[in-house]
Symmetry: C2
Subunit: 389 residues, 2 copies
């Protein structure tokens, strides 16, 4: 199925606190941008990724509501759920729809509105995507688990906290040039160290924030792509792999098996090696998680990911540019939307529309979106049209 | 894609008040039955349909948790959401997975646990699948909307309430022989008329109850089906169609456009006419909804569906057997599980395993599962193996 689909439209809202917009209105805004980008063709199906609108926004059935709002009654409308991997999973299902012979273009949308409730409720809901028997009733949170991971990583591999948070600094440097980012300004290591403790040793500026947003892409069959776009982007591979549902049941806490497997399958599908990838959009809930991802992708040996960051190798212009539009820390992390933001940002890079953050000569990008700390990983590989022309 | 997939395993829990089981344990029980039924082959993906576990059961991410619980780390795990159509939509996505070239068998599971919360909370959550702007804040409920529909139907078409509820009587007559049914006993029209009012004129025994349950089927490529089962069942068509997200925006309140379109597409895909179908599993939230379905399917003219019921034509042994294992009223309606219960029951009929409720010579069955009052309809057409041998 490699290369069967292409993205011909992409769009997103700014990530932020959108008090004035409903979860549905956010999805509509991103959808219309993606559709407009491709000349607004009729679509045969929409897939919506969202983590928890019933409990966060008192509204469910988002795919059907979005189809209706877009004037698309009579099409297929499917909502997909996997916590903060919901967006990439929706994109995966849209890709499957295309592989199964969709009669027309398919829209994939990710949306989340986290600011309708108190922050404590956001933390509570986030833990519903872990195995409640192992975590929820103990009171642990995702930042809490990240704190344990951070301490373990530092102890095991000799990195300092200052070393790790350079990943967050990288995010903010890139977010500064992204007008859709929630935090479009640079920070330093000192900014992190001077920010409040969230879960010792993890500090506020080492943690993905709470925000609202929506992002969308329009997919068509590769052979029809040029009818809709002068610069279609190839979707070379789309994989979704479940890992350990419970963090505590991992054999090695400092591993993410779901990512390793998903990336290996996606690269095989695309007929590529990781060295063929020109940039990476990673799921850095906190810095340590992004660093583990570098290791699972094979860009660094186990325990050496932090060195890659420290040596400047993940900056734009270096060997392995990471989170070129700001990542979870800089662009923001509206759960179910994040996977689609990654896809939209990869499209910008591959079209040469990434402005000051353009990775020169970018031909292939890889995105990783996961649920929680890796209970499900989705990996997509996107490429410039010419790569398989 | 007609005839590409076959069901080789099917299983379900009893529908009821399963105080002792969690939502995940229910899903595990049904999954193991479906897997055992096919010799427990390794699966490459699972799809889970569930309406609202985060808010009803304080647990999300069910597909990943189920995969882990079944010992299936490393496979694909996808959760699908569409209110009480979640089950059939999960089956549809599993079918798509097969159409897209799944490397192995795919498990489709529907599960819902409604008894962890108060009945008032169940009513509230149910309304989250309607357009909240039109319904939720007005305080209307699904039974309330059904009451309006019932009055309108009676007024417009000259049927009495006694005429309509014969559909519920049919359900219970069939449920009496289904050991998995929540209400396995016969009722009469008087039982309905003597039961408490839910929303005037709709009474308790005219309304789908509140219960827990899970159902699952295992799907493989048709050409491999005989390796897993002596009596595989063909999945000839699977369609999902969105209708009006808001009930109040329908041009004709007594219509269900999503069902009409989904059924037409499914029949076309299967290369069949509605008269070729030997039995029907319908989504009768209340009697009037089941009667409207008979009309939308073309089994009766508009306004004449109730006559079909009154004349005994939906009984087992008559022309158009409906809800042969009890339907939503008799078997029960655990939202996200219902679409899979329908599939499991169709498998029983097509294998000749329906016992006292066997439709003699049943070769083709049609199932209809919808969200709310038709904002999304899923239609499946299943057939005996020999139909396309």
């Amino acid at each position: 199925m490699s290369g069967l689909a292409a993205i011909v439209g992409a769009g997103c809202t700014k990530v932020g606190e959108h008090w004035e917009l409903s979860v549905l209105e956010l999805a509509v805004e991103a959808s219309l941008k993606a559709l407009d980008d491709a000349g607004s063709p009729p679509v045969s199906a929409i897939y919506v990724g969202n983590a928890a609108s019933e409990v966060l926004n008192e509204q469910g059935n988002l795919a059907v509501l979005l189809a209706d709002e877009l004037g698309l009654r009579g099409i297929k409308a499917v909502e997909v759920r996997a916590g903060d991997a919901s967006g990439a999973l929706a994109l995966h299902q849209a890709y499957l729809e295309m592989a199964a012979g969709a009669p027309g273009p398919v829209l994939a949308v990710g949306v989340e509105k986290l600011t309708d409730v108190m922050i404590q409720e956001v933390e509570r809901v986030q833990m519903l995507f872990e195995d409640a028997r192992a975590t929820f009733h103990s009171g642990i949170t995702i930042p809490g688990l990240c704190a344990l991971l951070t301490r373990l990583y530092m102890q095991q591999y000799g990195a300092s906290y200052e070393d790790l948070v350079l990943l967050a600094v990288n995010d903010h440097r890139n977010a500064a040039n992204n007008k859709y980012a929630q935090y479009p300004f640079p920070i330093t290591v000192e900014t992190v160290l001077n920010s409040p403790l969230v879960a010792d040793p993890v500090r506020l500026f080492d943690t993905a924030g709470v925000g609202d947003g929506a992002a969308a892409v329009l997919i068509v069959k590769a052979e029809e792509a040029r009818r809709f776009s002068d610069a279609p982007v190839r979707l070379l591979a789309s994989e979704a792999v479940a890992g350990e549902a419970s963090f505590s049941s991992r054999e090695d806490l400092l591993s993410m098996n779901s990512l390793r497997k998903a990336a290996a399958r996606a690269l095989k599908r695309a007929g590529m090696d990781i060295k063929d990838v020109d940039f990476f959009e990673l799921h850095n809930t906190t810095s340590v998680v992004g660093i583990l991802a570098l290791e699972e992708l094979g860009l660094a040996e186990r325990g050496e990911g932090w060195r890659l960051v420290k040596e400047g190798q993940i900056a734009i212009g270096a060997d392995w540019p990471v989170n070129t539009m700001g990542g979870l820390k800089g662009r923001g992390h509206p759960w179910g939307a994040t996977g689609l933001y990654q896809a939209v940002e990869a499209v910008w890079q591959l079209r040469g529309e990434a402005g000051k953050n353009q990775v020169e000569g970018a031909e292939v990008g890889l995105t990783h979106n996961m649920c929680g700390l890796g209970s499900l990983s989705c990996v997509h590989i996107l490429a410039r049209w010419e790569v398989r022309a």
